[in-house]
Subunit: 563 residues, 2 copies
């Protein structure tokens, strides 16, 4: 196509919120444009990339026998009520009613819808297994939407749902999808790790995220040096050894405390003790019941909210308590007790690794000392709720390191989580009995994947698209004296099916080169008076150019039938 005719040309405008390089380059390059916060137009350049990503995913899904279909965007709210997911506030489900009063959810994920369509058919074991998927617009009512396509309120997603007879055949399906995901991301130029993760709101027993290492990613995971263990911080198990097993338990006592010792750092300094010596309390409130939850943990550790939510079956339901909430306990920040408040107490397993804790009953002038868990206090719930950190060891005793990355895909075992809750979600087994489907689900965020490619492939001048997803295979620049030759080459490229963007404007060379670098097609061609009937060829990744004949150029740019 001719650059003069392109809608959505590169621009200097970029949103003030654009702190990420992918966000900046996609807006500046004319790939996307914000409608309102968190909602984006995919402009013609971006659409070309998106369509290629979609094609690659579709091809791999089809090649493992998955079948494309599509569900309505508006989900009858009754389906979400069947699985009791309609009120999980942190998920950001959007709802509306039509003028006859029927209520709908705007799909943020589609487990219920897919189970609903499947149960409309009376299936037998002979019809299973199958895997059905869609590309569809998804909605999440995020409170904050920053980062461009990395966390949008509306986004295109590939979501797949598999239906098996049992765990046995499901394992094959799950493995097949993991393999397909590695292939898909490899074709998109992304090196991914399959990371054990939390299934949270989706449910089921286990799941994995596909993560691309990146410092701007929101996924933090832990891995061992030998790659034998790789787990998201929300599920990474922390194996804690006793810290001072040889210390003699002393009787608990109340001692005076200077009034200016108000936080952990000051306590450690004041008592000349390491942080692990102290008890730490973190307070949450359940959105649904209003119940106050106090997590008690060793002073050197941090509570992981997701692990805590899972331990007390309050998935996506805990908010950090406000000072107002603390007032209902007759206390205030810094003065929460490790026992005695009207609250649900949860102890991290780390409380069992220390003899003679300091703290736990702080008042304005005193605190308790030589507190021993099990002897002096005990909580209703005990669980591993600690945030894993670099230097911790995993359950095999291997040292963990921390990695940050972007989650581009995920795969979930669902088992019978949905099919057992939804009425009639069964197939007739070989023995004639009706059994719930054994399910899995599998997502890839298209916009996030697109942005991740930009995070990985760019330089100071712009984007450097991998061939497989480049909006154009080649960008052709005509300079004075080369117009006719360029037009001839352009026509030939079009004729042989090569995707070419011809910068046909009457603008200085420097401006055209800058645009070519910003848009980032893999190859730049220049035709000018100087090149005569030949062409200057430069790869986007290279500093050097070479002069080739048109015939050579055309041959090198012949589109391959299969990418």
């Amino acid at each position: 196509m001719k650059y003069s005719q392109l809608f959505g040309k590169p621009t200097k405008d970029t949103s003030k919120d654009a702190t990420l390089i992918s966000h900046q380059l996609l807006v500046k390059g004319g790939f996307i444009r914000e409608s309102v916060a968190g909602r984006y137009f995919m402009l013609p350049l971006g659409m070309r990339v998106q369509n290629k990503i979609v094609d690659i995913i579709r091809r791999e899904m089809d090649s493992v026998g998955a079948q494309e279909m599509i569900s309505p965007v508006l989900h009858p709210i009754e389906l979400w009520q069947e699985t009791n997911r309609q009120n999980a506030g942190n998920f950001g489900l959007m709802t509306l009613a039509d003028r006859r009063g029927a209520k709908f959810a705007l799909g943020g994920t589609a487990e219920e819808m897919f189970v609903d369509v499947v149960r409309k058919f009376q299936l037998s074991y002979k019809d299973l297994p199958f895997n059905i998927y869609q590309f569809s617009q998804k909605f999440r009512d995020e409170l904050r939407a920053r980062g461009g396509l990395l966390r949008a309120r509306e986004f295109l997603m590939k979501d797949a749902y598999s239906f098996d007879t049992d765990a046995q055949t499901f394992k094959k399906t799950y493995g097949q999808m993991a393999d397909a995901y590695f292939k898909i991301f490899e074709k998109l130029g992304l090196k991914t790790k399959q990371v054990l993760a939390d299934n949270g709101y989706i449910g089921g027993e286990y799941c994995h995220e596909f993560i691309v290492d990146s410092n701007v990613g929101e996924s933090r995971y832990l891995e061992t040096a030998d790659d034998s263990y790789c787990a998201h911080e929300d599920v990474a198990e922390v194996k804690l050894e006793p810290i001072n097993p040889d210390e003699k338990p002393l009787p608990m006592e109340v001692r005076d405390l200077p009034t200016d010792v108000t936080n952990m750092a000051k306590l450690a300094t004041h008592f000349k003790q390491p942080k692990w010596r102290f008890l730490k309390n973190v307070v949450y409130k359940r959105q649904d019941t209003g119940q106050i939850v106090i997590a008690t943990i060793r002073g050197d550790l941090t509570v992981n909210k997701t692990k805590l939510e899972k331990a007390i079956d309050a998935i996506e339901l805990l908010d950090e308590a406000t000072p107002e909430d603390l007032k209902t306990l007759d206390t205030k920040p810094g003065f929460v007790h490790s026992w005695g408040h009207q609250a649900l107490y949860v102890a991290d397993l780390s409380l069992k690794t220390v003899i003679n804790f300091y703290g736990g009953q702080k008042t304005e002038t005193t605190d308790t000392f030589n507190v021993n868990y099990g002897r002096d206090f005990k909580t209703e719930v005990e669980a591993d709720i600690a945030l894993a950190q670099a230097g911790h060891t995993n359950h095999q005793g291997k040292k963990l390191t921390e990695v940050k990355g972007i989650e581009v895909g995920n795969i979930f075992q669902l088992g019978t989580h949905y099919s057992s809750k939804m009425k009639g979600a069964t197939y007739q087994a070989e023995d004639g009995q009706l059994k719930p489907y054994y399910m899995g689900c599998y997502g890839i965020g298209i916009g996030r994947t697109l942005a991740t490619i930009v995070e990985k492939y760019h330089d100071e001048h712009g984007i450097i698209w991998p061939k497989s997803v480049a909006p154009f295979a080649v960008q052709l620049i005509s300079l004075p004296g080369g117009e006719e030759s360029a037009e001839q080459l352009y026509d030939q490229l079009i004729k042989q099916g090569t995707e070419v963007l011809w910068d046909d404007r009457d603008e200085p060379a420097g401006k055209k080169f800058a645009v070519a670098d910003l848009i980032g097609a893999p190859v730049r061609l220049v035709v000018s008076q100087k090149t005569q009937d030949a062409v200057e060829w430069k790869a986007r990744t290279s500093q050097k150019s070479q002069v080739l004949s048109k015939k050579e150029v055309l041959t090198k740019l012949l589109p391959q039938k299969v990418q």
Copy 2:
């Protein structure tokens, strides 16, 4: 693919509401499935057809230089307020708010969104013209949704928006799109007529519908025998000649009327007069202001609501008046006067074609006679608001015939209708001045097009897909003794890229033949003990079959590179 693995197999279930053959066959054939009324899952078989329709449209749009992009589904309501379209109730706009209170419309059409993204760029005349389009889910809060994909509440639509500098260049764009539409529908196997239509809610000065003749269609249009005129009933002009020009106008008088003469038919019989002799009044109420509108027309004619709405600038705003509404005029059905009520009166031009009307001031026992429009009463508004009917003549004096059809696409001139209402929707002209874009928009309903193909291509056994959109090029049936041979043929077909559905089940031949006829792939192949290493070939459109070698079959089914 193997039939045993297909999700969404043909079924005997069909909705009670399925009165249309396309609705019945698409549900029975396993192409679509209802979620709730008016909202459909596109099942894998239907998705294959839909993807082909999308590809054909995309290819033709791209070939005339249109550029694909996509807008968010949720439109900020402020944009709809800019053009004052947020309250047109009959259009069925759905709205919702997010948890921060921001309000959105669920797009039913996207003029405002596309103007909004275009105005974000500072464009000059050099950047124009361009035409941008999307495939996206659309929402209409229809009160009634019947007819399967022919009138759904949620549907996939291709909508395009063109931006030109002026009417001159726009004409070329408009013609180009009309040509592209003819090509698209021809490739889909549909013969369309370009029919002058009403632009209604969309606005602008003129528009055309692309209509496929069909008795189940909701579009009624009028045409001349020589095809020189073709117009939707909502815009078809009626040329009315004086009926009794030689009659002498008599003085108006009030006469007694028997109380049992209560409607037009009884009046005509009682007075032994043709229907045109009588005055007819039809009452409406404006949704926005509550104003009562009385349309007065010749007794043999019918009021066309759309023409009336246009005449008084109340697009999509008139409802038929209820008996309650008539009470506010101190009258009741059958007793509405042609003048004198507190209402806006609109006279059809037909009132000027009759001398000595009967009626106009009916009471329980009397009425007025020899009423002459202009002499005895005159309305505020006079306009052509009559429904054109077969036998009427158009403005050229040519006789009209009536045709019913399905509107599969439409093209609209918008001019500056949107760009003049929306702030900053301008480009810099060659003379440096800022001028509003000159626009057009162009829609194709994908689901409706799919259903229309079925309406046109089926027999009593099932669907007969045109090759260009068939879910599979061929359906292979293996009968006892032919399993191995079938598998071999299947593998070879897959290898050469032929789309094949292999009915690999252990079921009687009759059942498999019935399914093949229902699904409707263009070719059926049978392999059995009888055919040995050969294959029985039968076209879906033919009663006869022939035996061919596998080599011949493979050659005949080689996929063409370009359809």
